[in-house]
Amino acid sequence: MDYIRIIPSLLLLNKKLVKGVCFKNFKNAGSPLSTITAFDSQGADEILIMDIDTYLDKKKEPDYEIIKKISEISSTPITFGGGIRNIEIAKKIIRLGIEKIYLNRIVFENKNIVTQLIKYLGGQALVIGINLIKIQGKYRIYEDKENKIDVLKHIIDIQNIEIGEIKITFVDREGKKCGLDLKFCKYIMNYIRVSSIFEGGIGSLDQLEDAFKEKIGAIALGTMLTFNDYNIVKIKRHLHNKGFNVRL
């Protein structure tokens, strides 16, 4: 890739977009179709959509109807996450016009599925999500309630199974506009050789600049795009003027 990437990160709940703080207190954030149409025409580099209905109800399958509608209107590459528990679901989603699937919980529950998905879809179609939360000064994986998993080991291990991309989310910064934990980003980037996306905390152009200065290649934005006056054109123009290699 020649360019840094700006990726709107959208949460889908009951056919509407929502946005919260630290994965909680979700507020209505509008219509997915009109929002995606806007990001598409503003030149988003990719769009990331998470179906959080499937997080709240583990048995639920992704909302295929809305995926189909999104695919009809978007000429931007889309990554979809939520409810992808087996190969059939993954294939169905890709077929509907999704380029990459995002996996998170299943990686801990059934690593085998990840290997199988790579066999069918190729590693380039998989984004593995790592949600981090800082507890007593130390990062832990959000889903790892018993604190059994070492963050760094997990990052190294999943790259050994040939996945294309890792997405790191700072859960306790999400929606707070306090910027990424750049010190920690720098530290783990030493161990990431695949493509990576960072999210959680960015709320201003300065914070965005600071992150790209540290050679981060892709940033997903939620709050900054959802509840503020920023749009992708404005953000990219600003970064371009500051000398960053963005695609205009």
Binding site: M1, D2, S75, K91, R95, K119, G122, G123, G164
Partner: protein
């Protein structure tokens, strides 16, 4: 104009379908290989792992039917893995054979494997760029970790666009009635739409 999109059970079929539909056409999704000769234009989409994709294509007899179309009047566009099958040999997840139109192999960009995910500048042949109506350096979306390596210098003459990611990545190739792209025109916004228009108007 009859446009067929080959559905071999892998790939972002509807992305390609929607892109063509939004250009004002009614493409048909083709699941039976015996029918592919009935089209004017064929598109082979691709999001998948090579070994698995080639297995299905072979099983459903698409490989043979596609080989039979080499030199015919049907223009064929392969996207990503759909383009990589034009080669002699693919190496992702085991060795598989392509349709052998290009004397080229599909190999990893580097070892250990790295992924080219995102937008790249593609340096295009000037005449082709003018026909597509875009600049001769234009951005397209890539998502791959294997690329086409030509086994003979002659094959370079069939390459009309390169991207740079660690290596020179052949990104637009044309030989006989086959056109292949490593990028995803169906997901490359305005440039991609122009490219697809160009393909639909292309006579080999």
């Amino acid at each position: 104009m009859k446009i067929g999109i080959i559905d071999y059970g892998a790939g972002n079929i509807l992305s390609v379908y929607n892109a063509i539909y939004n250009l004002g056409y009614n493409p048909i999704i083709v699941t039976e290989s015996s029918k592919i000769k009935n089209f004017d234009k064929l598109i082979i989409p691709g999001v998948g792992s090579a070994f698995h994709a080639l297995n299905i294509l072979k099983e459903k007899n698409f490989i043979k039917e596609l080989k039979d179309l080499i030199g015919s009047k049907i223009s064929i566009l392969g996207i990503c893995i759909g383009f990589q099958i034009f080669s002699k040999k693919l190496t992702e997840d085991g060795i598989s054979k392509g349709i052998n139109l290009f004397n080229a192999d599909i190999i990893p960009i580097s070892e250990p494997n790295i992924f080219n995910i995102g937008w790249c500048k593609v340096k295009l042949n000037k005449e082709i760029a003018a026909k597509i109506k875009i600049n001769d350096t234009s951005d397209f979306y890539f998502c791959h970790s294997y690329y086409m390596k030509n086994n003979s210098i002659n094959e370079n003459n069939n390459c009309f666009g390169f991207a740079k990611f660690k290596k020179e990545i052949p990104s637009l190739v044309i030989k006989e009635n086959f056109m292949g792209v490593q990028f995803h025109p169906e997901k490359s916004q305005a440039n991609g739409i122009k490219f697809l228009k160009f393909f639909l108007g292309w006579t080999p």
